[in-house]
Amino acid sequence: SYGSTLRYKNIERMKAIGKHSLLGASGEISDFQEILRYLDELVLNDNMWDDGNSLGPKEVHNYLTRVMYNRRNKFNPLWNTLVLGGVKNGESYLGMVSMIGVSFEDNHVATGFGNHLARPILRDEWHADLSFEDGVKLLEKCMRVLLYRDRSAINKLQIAKITEEGVTCEDEPIPLFDHFDDTRKAAKSAACRNRAIGEAWDDYDSIFYNAWLKVSIEPTWFVDPDVV
């Protein structure tokens, strides 16, 4: 399975690095903790210089690329995909490093299934003048899509914001959407069983529409003969 938050519901997978960066990881959490130890040492040594220079997101990203790539070359990878973002001197930066050392910068990045499900949405809807609130809404939209398709994730999200001042709003994990007291009861309730089945699966029909072949590849629905 991928991304299992089934058992430990409050694990934080994002950490602030130095004054300017934020690191998020997916994959093996213990390897992520090891990476945090490397970065702690890096930031400590940087602070010990005490000379007005500080590690920005670009430097941290490249350092991590070197670490991940070198481990892969030794056939002993750190099993993580890392997302690194930050702001320094007014310039914002966002990059990704995979467990084999593939690294790049872009306006939006994702790990794992996010690359397949979330990035198409982001490609359509991202633009350079997004406000923070719109950005959060866009991210929540992507996370919802991902959540629907993950059988072992819970509905809690953690969102962090990085600006020139540093990392702020690193929230406690927040619940994503509707909360049901008793999910089984809700699923069996009349409201759910008798809901109208519309044309569109959800807002993101486009994901399943192959424009070239002009074929719609919708998932099959179970049509309850009692209801119809």
Partner: protein
């Protein structure tokens, strides 16, 4: 300085608390030909006097590029200087490779100083016999440092090292307050004028000096002979006749005597 019984080893203190071998190493710096550095808020200029072993040979290189944003000028044992430049280049490029970002000059200078200090505390080593003027640019602006064989380093607005550098230092002392706001061209002109001070009467020609510049949006590079000659021509219209240079002229004649060692005849062949 006279010979005494505490100066054989670098690991022997004198009763007055001095390490004579280290001080002798600093004497070697004074024997080399002059090197000058000055900085403004956004640029650093390094200049040196070209000295050739003999008429038949080419002159020794005294200014080295360490990276696009760092340059170094040396005075003293050129071989030691070359080895330290290689070390600096290596440190700089390793940092660039790992962090994809230029090495802050202050950090390079500290590593260099620590390397020099090691040589003052090992009985099987000797101190490096070269003084380094490290000029560079980083996030916090333009910097000029002087690294000593003793392992000390200092930051300067402007400095000169090598033989007859006192004349240049006097010139720079008079003018340094304006350097921070100087334009690039004025800075270069001041560097060449300071070089002229060390020549003590010899006619200043572009073949006699090497000038290098680095700054914001300007990677380290050497100025070519024509550019240097053009600057020289602005203040030396006719050789032996001084016109434009301003206050510098009147006091050039009264420049104090050379500093340090016994003069050119006693310069060891390995020093430049």
């Amino acid at each position: 300085m006279f010979r005494n019984q505490y100066d054989t080893d670098v690991t022997t203190w004198s009763p007055t608390g001095r390490l004579f071998q280290v001080e002798y190493a600093m004497e070697a710096v004074k024997q080399g030909s002059a090197a000058i550095g000055l900085r403004s808020r956004s640029h650093v200029v390094l200049a040196s006097v070209n000295k050739a072993q003999s008429e038949l040979s080419s002159h020794q290189r005294k200014i080295f590029k360490v990276d696009d944003h760092i340059g170094v000028a040396i005075a003293g044992l050129t071989a030691d200087g070359r080895v330290l430049s290689r070390y600096m280049r290596s440190e700089s490029i390793n940092h660039s490779f790992t962090y994809e970002s230029p090495l802050p000059v202050g950090r390079l200078v500290v590593r260099l100083a620590d390397k020099a200090q090691v040589c003052t505390q090992r009985s099987w080593k000797r101190p490096y016999g070269v003084g380094l003027l490290v000029g560079g640019l980083d996030e916090s602006g333009a910097h000029l440092y002087y690294n000593c064989p003793s392992g000390n380093y200092f930051e300067y607005q402007a400095f000169a090292i090598g033989s007859r550098s006192q004349a240049a230092k006097t010139y720079l002392e008079r003018r340094f307050e304006s350097f921070n706001e100087s334009s690039r061209e004025d800075l270069i002109k001041d560097a060449i004028l300071a070089i002229r001070e060390t020549l003590q009467g010899e006619t200043l020609k572009s073949s006699l000096c090497t000038v290098s510049v680095l700054g914001v949006d300007e990677p380290f590079h050497f100025l070519d002979q024509e550019s240097i000659q053009k600057v020289i021509d602005t203040f030396e219209k006719v050789p032996e006749e001084e016109e434009d240079g301003g206050e510098a002229e009147a006091e050039a004649a009264a420049a104090p005597a050379e500093q340090g060692g016994a003069g050119d005849q006693d310069v060891a062949p390995m020093e430049m």
